[in-house]
C-alpha cells in the first residue's frame, strides 16, 4: 500500500547508526567500563589432545591484584549451540581437545595483573593421540575425541536418496565425475570478541557481549550457570563484524559471567587476536566428489554428491553444516533425482562452524566448476547450459524445499550481457579469462536451532503520547544494517521520520526474541515482524482518527508525519495529534508483530536444514589475468547480479554485495585456516599456521577489482515489501567464477580453494608435459555411510517423508518420534507442553 509513494523503502538513505559509526560513538563491548570492573584472562591448552593431569595455581595466586580463579570443575555443565551437540565446557573438563582450548580463568584488578597470573599457571597434560585431518579421522576410530560421535571419530554420518538415482545414471547419455577440496578459512572480524558481565541486585546478572545470537547465549548461560533465565539479561552490543564468527555461545562469555558472580563485581574479557583464531567456528574444510548424469541434450538427470567435512574439536553448528553441504544443490538447476552422502570428522583443531554461506560455498564451488567442465565437454556455452536447466519459480525440489521467486535467469542474462561473456568467453588472449558461476542462499533458516513452535522474530512498538515511537526488537546489528531496516520499515508503515523512532534492540530483558543475525534471516523475518507491529499500531490509530475525522478507517493514510483522508488529503491530523486522539480513545498505544516461517513440506530426518521462506539467487562473471610464468592471477573486473526481491535500501544492499565479493575473492585467492603438526620431539601439537592478521592473508585495498553490481528486483510475496536476503548469497558464485575464469585464461583446472599461484603453476607445468592440466584432490575413498534414507521426490509419489523412516529408527536404535518436527507439531494439539520446545538440557550431550 505504500510502495508507490515510499518515504524510505527502496531509497538510498543514510543508515540510522551512520553518525555514531563515523564519530566513534558506537559502543562495542570492549568500550564498556563499569566501576570496580575486574579483568579476565584465560589460560589455554598447549596440547592438541590430552588429559589434564594437574593444575598448579600456587604461583599465580601470589601475583598482586589477583582476585580469583575458575577451572573446569567450577563449570561442569556442558553446552553447545545445537541441542544434539552439547559437547563444550566453558573451561576444559578433564580433557583438552585442541590447542587453544581454555582451561583456567583468572581475574585481577588490571588486565596486566590477570595476564601475569595467567602466565604463572602451570598445567600438566597426559598427551593423547591426535587427529589432524579427515583421512586420519577415517583411519583412527579410537580414541574417540567425543564419545557421542555417530561412529569412531565421525561426528555425523548421513545418507539420503531422493528418487531413482541409479536408474537415472543407467539411462544417462553422459556421466561426469569430479573431486574438489575447499580449504577452511575464518571470519576475521576486525573486532575481537569481548564480554562484560555485571552483577545486578536480586541475584541477577547482565551480560554485554559481542554476539550475533543473544537469545542462544541467554539459554546457554541459564543452563551452565544454573540460573533461572529471568535473572539473566543478555545485551548484544553492536558487533564489529560477525560473518558467523560470533554466533555460538562461547566459553569465555560463560566464564566471564561466572566470574562476575563469584567476585560480585563487573568483569570484562577481551580476546586477543590469537584467541579469536582459537575460537574459530570458521568455514569447514570440505573434500567432495560430484557425479552427474545428463541426457543427450544437456538436461540434468541426477546428481550424486559426497562431502567430507573437517569439523575440528567440537560440534558447534556442525550437524547443520553437514546437511548444508548437500541441502542447496537442488535449488538452482532442476535435479530430477539426487543422492547426498556426508560425513563430518572430529579433529584436534579449533571447531569449525558457520561462516557466511554456512556449508554451502564449498559444494557450490564444486557444482559450478563441475558445470563449467560439463559445458566445455559438451561444447556448450556455460551460460546456456545453466539457463537450460534452471529451476522454476515456486517449485518444490527433489529434496522438498519449497522455492519462492527465482530470477536467476535474469541475473545470468544481466551479467552475461554486461560482461559480453558470450562474445568474449573462450576468445580472450592467453592469460585473460572470463568465468561464470551462480549461487543461491536461504532467506533465513526455516527452523530455529532448537525445535519450537514459537515465532522466530517479534517486534513490539510503544507509541509515546509526544509522538515518539519506541521500537523493541531482539535483532542484532552486526554491521549489516539490521537497525536501519527495522527503522525504515516502521517509519515507512507509519509515515514517520527515522528521528521519530528510538530503537531498543538485542536485549533479552527488554526486547522480544529474535533468534539472531545468522542464516540471512533478519531482513525477512525481523522485517516481517516489524511490518506487522507497525500495521498493528497503524490500524489502531487509523480507527481512532477515522472516528475523529468522520471518515472510513480504510480511507486513512499515513505519510510525512500526517494522518489524513486519502480521498481528501487536506482533511487530516498531524502525527502528534493523531497519537493524542488515539491514546485518548483507546488508551496507551502499543503494537506487536511476530513472524514464523511457513511450514515446509519436507518431513524426513534432515529436512530441518535447508527450508527457507524463500531463496535469493546470484550470478557473477569475473574477468581475471593470469601470469603463466608465475601462476599469479588477479581479478580485474566483477559483474554480479543479485535477485534480492526488493532492495529496501540499495546502498546497504550494494554494500553487502561488495563485501560478499570481497570475502569470496579472499577465499578464492588466499584465505586459509591451515594447520601444521609440530615434530613429535616438540610436542606433536597441531598449531595454527597463521593466527595473526599479518600472516592469515586477506585482501587489502590493493586486491579489489572493479565491481559492477546489479540489483534484480521482483518482489517476493514472503519478504517484507518483497525483500529477500543479500548478506550471504553474493559470496557463493565468486570462488567458482574465479576458477572458471582461470581455466578460460590458461586452460588449467585448479579444483581447490584457495587457488594459490603455485597450484596454477603446477597445473600449467602438468599441461606442458602433456599430463592432465589439473591440480586438485583425488576422489573420496569408499566410506560406509550406513543406513540410507529413501525419500521419494514430489514427482515420485512422495509426501515428504522417508519411505523407510521406521526401519531407520530401528537400525539406529532411536525410539519413538521424540525430538522430531512431527512431535512438535502434534504437541499443541495434544496439549502437551513438554514437547513444545527443546529444554535447556541436551538430549545427547556427554
Amino acid at each position: 500500500m505504500t510502495s508507490e509513494r515510499s518515504q524510505w523503502i527502496g531509497l538510498p538513505f543514510q543508515r540510522v547508526d551512520a553518525h555514531a559509526k563515523v564519530t566513534g560513538r558506537t559502543s562495542f563491548a570492549d568500550d564498556l567500563r563499569f566501576p570496580r570492573m575486574a579483568y579476565l584472562k584465560l589460560v589455554r591448552s598447549t596440547v592438541p589432545h590430552g588429559r589434564i593431569r594437574s593444575i598448579d595455581l600456587s604461583r599465580a595466586e601470589q601475583v598482586p591484584g589477583v582476585l580469583g580463579f575458575l577451572t573446569g570443575k567450577d563449570l561442569p555443565t556442558p553446552f553447545g549451540i545445537l541441542p544434539v551437540s552439547q559437547d563444550e565446557h566453558a573451561l576444559a573438563n578433564e580433557v583438552v581437545r585442541h590447542v587453544g582450548e581454555a582451561v583456567v580463568a583468572v581475574a585481577a584488578t588490571s588486565e596486566d595483573a590477570a595476564e601475569t597470573a595467567a602466565l604463572a599457571v602451570r598445567i600438566e597434560y597426559e598427551p593423547l593421540p591426535t587427529i589432524s585431518s579427515i583421512d586420519e579421522a577415517l583411519a583412527t576410530p579410537e580414541p574417540q575425541i567425543h564419545r557421542y560421535a555417530d561412529r569412531g571419530n565421525l561426528h555425523k554420518v548421513l545418507a539420503l536418496d531422493f528418487g531413482d538415482v541409479d536408474g537415472a545414471f543407467s539411462r544417462a547419455a553422459h556421466v561426469f565425475e569430479d573431486a574438489f577440496f575447499y580449504e577452511g578459512n575464518t571470519h576475521l572480524p576486525i573486532e575481537q570478541h569481548a564480554t562484560v558481565a555485571v552483577p545486578e541486585d536480586g541475584d541477577r546478572l547482565t551480560v554485554y557481549s559481542s554476539t550475533q545470537t543473544p537469545h542462544y547465549l541467554h539459554r546457554a548461560l541459564a543452563k551452565v550457570l544454573g540460573l533461572p533465565a529471568p535473572r539473566i539479561r543478555v545485551i548484544a552490543c553492536p558487533n564489529g563484524g560477525g560473518f558467523g564468527g560470533k554466533s555460538d555461545p562461547f566459553g569465555h562469555e560463560i566464564v566471564c559471567a561466572a566470574m562476575s558472580r563469584k567476585l560480585g563485581r563487573p568483569v570484562k574479557i577481551t580476546l586477543t587476536r590469537e584467541e579469536v583464531f582459537w575460537c574459530h567456528r570458521g568455514r569447514h574444510p570440505v573434500w567432495m566428489t560430484l557425479r552427474t548424469a545428463m541426457d543427450e541434450n544437456g538436461k540434468l538427470l541426477a546428481q550424486e554428491l559426497s562431502t567430507a567435512l573437517d569439523g575440528g574439536a567440537f560440534g558447534s553448528y556442525g550437524v547443520a553444516s553437514t546437511y548444508y553441504t548437500g541441502a542447496l544443490q537442488t535449488v538452482t538447476y532442476h535435479l530430477p533425482a539426487y543422492r547426498f552422502r556426508s560425513i563430518r570428522a572430529f579433529t584436534n583443531k579449533p571447531p569449525c562452524g558457520p561462516k557466511r554461506g554456512h556449508g554451502t560455498p564449498q559444494p557450490r564451488f564444486g557444482w559450478e566448476v563441475h558445470l563449467d567442465k560439463i559445458a566445455v565437454a559438451l561444447g556448450k556455452n556455460p551460460a546456456d547450459l545453466r539457463l537450460q536447466n534452471l529451476e522454476r519459480d515456486g517449485a518444490v525440489t527433489a529434496n522438498w524445499w519449497q522455492l519462492g521467486t527465482i530470477e536467476l535467469g535474469q541475473a545470468i542474462e544481466t551479467v552475461v550481457e554486461a560482461s559480453a561473456y558470450r562474445q568474449r568467453w573462450g576468445r580472450l588472449p592467453e592469460g585473460r579469462g572470463l568465468g561464470l558461476a551462480c549461487g543461491s542462499y536461504l532467506c533465513g533458516a526455516g527452523l530455529p536451532i532448537y525445535w519450537n513452535q514459537m515465532p522466530q522474530s517479534a517486534v513490539v512498538l510503544h507509541v509515546d503520547r509526544g509522538g515518539g515511537v519506541g521500537v523493541f526488537s531482539g535483532a542484532t546489528e552486526i554491521g549489516q544494517g539490521s537497525d536501519t531496516v527495522l527503522a525504515a520499515i516502521v517509519a515507512e508503515t507509519l509515515g514517520l521520520e527515522l528521528a521519530d523512532l528510538t530503537l531498543c534492540v538485542a536485549d533479552t530483558a527488554l526486547t522480544p526474541v529474535d533468534l539472531g543475525s545468522y542464516s540471512s534471516r533478519v531482513t525477512l523475518m525481523m522485517g516481517q515482524a516489524a511490518r506487522r507491529a507497525a500495521l498493528d499500531v497503524r490500524q489502531k490509530i487509523a480507527a481512532a482518527v477515522a472516528q475523529q475525522l468522520e471518515v472510513a478507517p480504510d480511507d486513512v493514510e499515513f505519510a510525512h508525519r500526517r494522518v489524513f483522508s486519502k480521498g481528501e488529503p487536506e482533511k487530516g491530523l498531524s502525527w502528534e495529534d493523531a497519537v493524542v486522539v488515539a491514546e485518548a480513545r483507546l488508551g496507551t498505544l502499543a503494537g506487536v508483530g511476530s513472524y514464523t516461517p511457513p511450514r515446509a513440506p519436507g518431513r524426513y530426518r534432515g529436512s530441518g536444514v535447508g527450508p527457507s521462506p524463500t531463496y535469493s539467487y546470484t550470478a557473477a562473471v569475473i574477468e581475471v589475468e593470469v601470469d603463466p610464468e608465475t601462476g599469479i592471477w588477479r581479478p580485474l573486473e566483477v559483474w554480479i547480479a543479485h535477485d534480492i526481491g526488493r532492495a529496501l535500501n540499495p546502498v546497504l544492499a550494494l554494500g553487502q554485495i561488495e563485501g560478499s565479493v570481497y570475502m569470496g575473492l579472499g577465499e578464492a585467492m588466499m584465505e586459509e585456516s591451515a594447520f601444521r603438526r609440530l615434530p613429535r620431539s616438540r610436542s606433536n601439537a597441531l598449531v595454527h599456521k597463521f593466527p595473526s592478521l599479518l600472516e592469515y592473508k586477506s585482501p587489502t585495498f590493493h586486491e579489489m577489482p572493479k565491481i559492477h553490481s546489479y540489483l534484480i528486483e521482483r518482489e517476493d510475496p514472503e519478504g517484507p515489501f518483497g525483500a529477500k536476503e543479500v548478506g550471504q548469497g553474493p559470496l557463493l558464485p565468486i570462488p567458482p567464477a574465479c576458477a572458471n575464469a582461470i581455466y578460460d585464461a590458461v586452460g588449467v583446472r585448479v579444483d581447490q580453494v584457495p587457488i594459490h599461484p603455485h597450484l596454477v603453476l603446477r597445473a600449467l607445468e602438468a599441461k606442458k608435459k602433456g599430463r592432465p592440466a589439473r591440480v586438485g584432490p583425488s576422489f573420496l575413498p569408499p566410506i560406509d555411510y550406513g543406513f540410507v534414507l529413501e525419500i521419494p521426490p514430489p514427482w515420485g509419489g512422495g509426501d515428504g517423508r522417508a519411505r523407510n523412516e521406521d526401519a531407520f529408527r530401528e537400525a539406529s536404535g532411536r525410539k519413538g518420534r521424540a525430538g522430531t518436527m512431527l512431535e512438535r507439531e502434534q504437541a499443541l494439539s495434544h496439549r502437551s507442553v513438554d514437547a513444545l520446545t527443546t529444554g535447556l538440557a541436551g538430549k545427547r550431550g556427554e
Binding site: L42, A118, P238
Partner: protein, 216 residues
C-alpha cells in the same frame, strides 16, 4: 613488568605464540620466571588530545592506544590486533598517521594527538565523516575510526589524491565488511568537497549499476 613482546598475545604460558616455533621451548622459557614483578611503574604524563590538554597517570609500558582508551576514555580508537597489523588504532600524531598500538604512550607526551573524536567540530561532521555516512563506507564501523584518521592525514598532505594514491595510503588498514572500494570513493568525494569542487557521483554507488544490463 611484562615484556613488551608478550602484550596482546594469547595467554598461553606453556604454549604457542605467533612466531614461536615450538611450544615446548616456550615452556622452559616461561618456567622459573618469577611472578613477583608485576607492579609496573606508573608514569604521569600530559597529552594534547583533540586540542585538550590532559594529564593522567598510566602504567609506563602502556601503548598510546591503551592510554587513549583506558585513561583518557577515548574509546573511539579501536584495536584489532595490537600488533600493528590491522590499522584499526590509527590516530594522528603531529600530523602523521600513527598506529597507536605500536607507540609507547610516553613517547606521545606533549605531542598533538588527534583521534576520531576530534574530527568533527561540534555537531558539524568532517567532510570525510559525511562522505562515509552518505556512501555507506562504514558498515560495522569498527575499522572506520582508523581509516578516517589515516584518510584525514592523507588529505592534509595531498588534497586531491588519485584513487591509487588513496589505496596506497590506506593499504595498511583492514576492513572486512565493505570490500574497500566504497571507502576509496568516499575519500575522493570528501577530498573534492574540501577543495570546494564538486565531484559527480556515479549513481551506481547508490542504486547499483545499470550499464549494459539487458532491458527487463
Amino acid at each position: 613488568m611484562l615484556p613488551a613482546k608478550g602484550r596482546a598475545l594469547g595467554v598461553m604460558p606453556h604454549g604457542v605464540r605467533r612466531g614461536s616455533p615450538d611450544p615446548a621451548s616456550r615452556v622452559s622459557r616461561k618456567r622459573g620466571k618469577g611472578s613477583k614483578d608485576t607492579e609496573s611503574a606508573v608514569r604521569v604524563g600530559t597529552f594534547i588530545v583533540n586540542n585538550e590538554t590532559r594529564t593522567v597517570a598510566f602504567p609506563e609500558h602502556h601503548s598510546l592506544l591503551e592510554v587513549l582508551r583506558e585513561e583518557l576514555g577515548l574509546t573511539g580508537t579501536k584495536h584489532g590486533c595490537e600488533l600493528g597489523e590491522c590499522g584499526a588504532c590509527t590516530v594522528e600524531v603531529e600530523g602523521r598517521a600513527v598506529l597507536s598500538c605500536l607507540l609507547l604512550a610516553a613517547e606521545a607526551e606533549g605531542k598533538a594527538i588527534r583521534t576520531v573524536e576530534g574530527l568533527a567540530v561540534g555537531r558539524q561532521l568532517h567532510p570525510l565523516q559525511l562522505a562515509f555516512a552518505e556512501l555507506g563506507a562504514a558498515q560495522c564501523g569498527y575499522c572506520t575510526p582508523g581509516i578516517l584518521m589515516a584518510a584525514k592525514v592523507l588529505l592534509d598532505h595531498n588534497p586531491s589524491p588519485s584513487a591509487d594514491e588513496i589505496r596506497t595510503h590506506l593499504g595498511g588498514n583492514l576492513c572486512r565488511c565493505t570490500g574497500y572500494e566504497r571507502i576509496v570513493e568516499a575519500v575522493a568525494v570528501a577530498a573534492a568537497r574540501l577543495q570546494g569542487t564538486s565531484r559527480e557521483l556515479d549513481p551506481a554507488w547508490l542504486q547499483g549499476d545499470q550499464r549494459n544490463a539487458p532491458a527487463r
